[in-house]
């Protein structure tokens, strides 16, 4: 559509009003959702930041007292546990999801039969909510209900394959062990998200120009070399998207931990998100909870902003 006004300046006819309406329509339609986002996302971000500088306990108070809440936050042993767990969970979650997702995508891309059946099977876990994933895995990993009990029922009181590897008396009790519980969160998280990552990579793979591959094949490159030297480097934007999606899911992941371990045993699977909830709502330390939320926001911002920057720059270039 032309940007030049089509109306007759002298006329002021009904066609000009319709034209103006047509111009305004997208703005009008967007305005309510824009206002909602403005208030309920950015408004509440500002409100949270404000709260983190107040002495709020059970309910919000609006007196500013400076960085007290941040000092309290960084003097909490629980907060360090949460950060450490986020580091373990976040890095393993990212790494494993990407590795498994990419491998699955490459294997599916070999024009195998039944691809149409396999793809939704891998993708399906993403359709479940984290709560369902967490609950299901909680049953599965619970030593008295799930895998451990099944093994016992089958006459393997100790986990046979592991014992075969020379680990006597090994039992699969990761869920209830404070040292290993955080890894059960990784397992459940990876199970859920790998299929989604696979779908993203698959889309990326299908988008690659077949001519390049053919040229490489003519040059006599093995398919391993083709993937390593050509295809995977071409998937760089997909890697970036995967990273962004997974990283923010890791930082905000709350329901998965709640359903799987409830933050326990002890506080072995505390994450910043569970910390924030607990301090804000269970412990009447709203200001400390708000401060932890601000730290989480800053972490996410540190990931998103470079991404947006690189995206926008690419578009322009």
């Amino acid at each position: 559509m032309s940007a030049v006004p089509l109306t007759d300046p002298a006329g002021g006819s009904s066609s000009s009003r319709a034209e103006r309406l047509r111009h305004a329509l997208p703005k009008l339609v967007l305005a309510p959702s824009f206002a909602l986002v403005l208030v309920f996302v950015y408004g509440f971000i500002l409100w949270t930041i404000y709260l983190s500088f107040t002495p709020s306990r059970m309910l919000p108070v609006y007196q500013l007292i400076g960085f007290d809440a941040y000092q309290r936050l960084w003097s909490q042993p629980n907060w360090y546990v949460a950060l450490q767990n986020l580091a373990i969970f976040g890095s393993l979650y990212l790494l494993l999801c990407t590795a498994i997702g990419l491998t699955l995508a490459i294997l599916l891309d070999q024009r195998i039969r039944f691809e149409g059946v396999l793809r939704p099977i891998f993708l399906y876990p993403m359709a479940l909510s984290f709560i369902v994933t967490g609950t299901a895995w909680q049953w599965f990993l619970n030593p008295t209900l799930g895998l451990g009990r099944t093994m016992q029922a089958l006459g393997w009181p100790t986990w046979a394959p592991v014992r075969w590897l020379g680990w006597e008396n090994a039992q699969f009790d990761w869920l209830v062990n404070t040292e290993t519980a955080i890894y059960t969160v990784v397992i459940a998280g990876v199970w859920q998200a790998s299929g989604f990552v696979m779908a993203m990579f698959l889309a990326g793979l299908r988008g690659i120009d077949g001519e390049i591959i053919k040229a490489a094949e003519i040059d006599g490159a093995s398919s391993f070399t083709i993937y390593r030297r050509i295809i995977i480097p071409l998937l760089r934007p997909v890697f970036l998207s995967v990273f962004i999606v997974l990283a923010h899911m890791a930082i905000k992941s709350y329901d998965l931990v709640k359903a799987l371990t409830g933050g326990g045993p002890g506080n072995a699977t505390e994450l910043p998100s569970t910390f924030m909830y607990s301090f804000t709502y269970e412990r009447s330390q709203m200001a400390v909870g708000a401060a932890s939320a601000v730290i989480m926001l800053m972490t996410i911002t540190a990931i998103i902003v470079p991404y947006l920057y690189s995206e926008l720059r690419e578009r322009r270039g």
Partner: protein
Amino acid sequence: MRIRKLAFVLTAGVLGLAPAKAQEQVEVLHWWTAGGEAAALSVLKDNLAKQGVTWKDMPVAGGSGVQAMTALRARVTAGTPPTAAQLLGFNLRDWGSQGFAANLDDVAKANDWEKLVPEPLKAFSKDAGHWVAVPVNIHSTNWLWINKAALDKAGLQPPKTLDEFIAMLDAFKAQGITALAHGGSPWQDTTLWEAVVLSIGGMDFYKKAVLQLDPAALKSDKMRKAFDTMTKLRGYFDKGFSGRDWNLSTAMVIKGEAGAQEMGDWAKGEFIGAKKVPDQDFVCIRFPGTQGNVLFNADQFMMFKLGAKDIPAQHKMAAAVLDTSFQIAFNKVKGSAPARLGVSDAEFDACGKKGIKDVAEAMAAGTMVGSLAHGYAQPDSIKNAFFDVVTQHLNGQLTTDQALTRLPAAIAAAK
């Protein structure tokens, strides 16, 4: 005003069948969702229904009431508080001091609550000298529930001391059942811990350490022994204890999969619900070494400030809660003792009678004090500081030495 009218018209339109005459209604937020608890509550509902007051339930699942508190905060902040909410201990004080509480002085005077409600409860039912809440019951947390068949099989008497208790657990272990059923969550861990602290240190020590937060007591040898005992008790749990709900642990004792459980008297509701008989199928005793002491927590209905048209129903409900017939009917099912003095124990079973007697004795001796795990000893922030250390120690994240240094530090940080 116009918006409110519009909202009313819309709501009525949506509901389609707006009643011609507004009926009196109370909306009650609570976390009584386990089998026995839900049954106990229906007694109160029926009672109110007879007076023409409909009951709108707002149950929020979760044994410790944490989730319910979050829901309540949302409702009150939004300016639409429920008629009443089930609250415990220091939460009552917190809400009372925020100015959201209704004034129940008229109902209290008309029904003589001043005389009827036990002193330790009254301290929490009132805010600045005014009645704001009605106690429903007196629970206590230092109970031990034992499967009678397992006990007989071991050929033992119910344990009176910690040593006898350990011996009993060893015997249960030898029978191949889970010796001590436990649900691993911070509040359950601390419920066990406070009973152990009371058993080892006695009432004076409990008061000093838990109520007065005396640093010397928190680091003392008795406290060390309490933590060491917790480590020992953990050896009697089954592998799947972590994160289990309390009533599932009780079910293990009921079914004979486990020998005993330390839990508040609400566990009795589960036994009764499973048609079990005290002294025949199960044994209820004070946690070994704590006879004569009662760590109490009382469910109270905090009443919120409402519009004039809702107040009559609210007052009816407040009066109904302390009504003798309701107190008997309710507490019989719930496992607790009546929150009203001088109620006959004739209709109660053996455990109920014992509970009522224990409360009376402890009140006379001054050994009825608030339970830490259930919010009657410390405000939320300090309570949770205890929770952290106790649960991390029980789960092996902290050694006893670390727990003893961490506890005073965590309390200081939470103040």
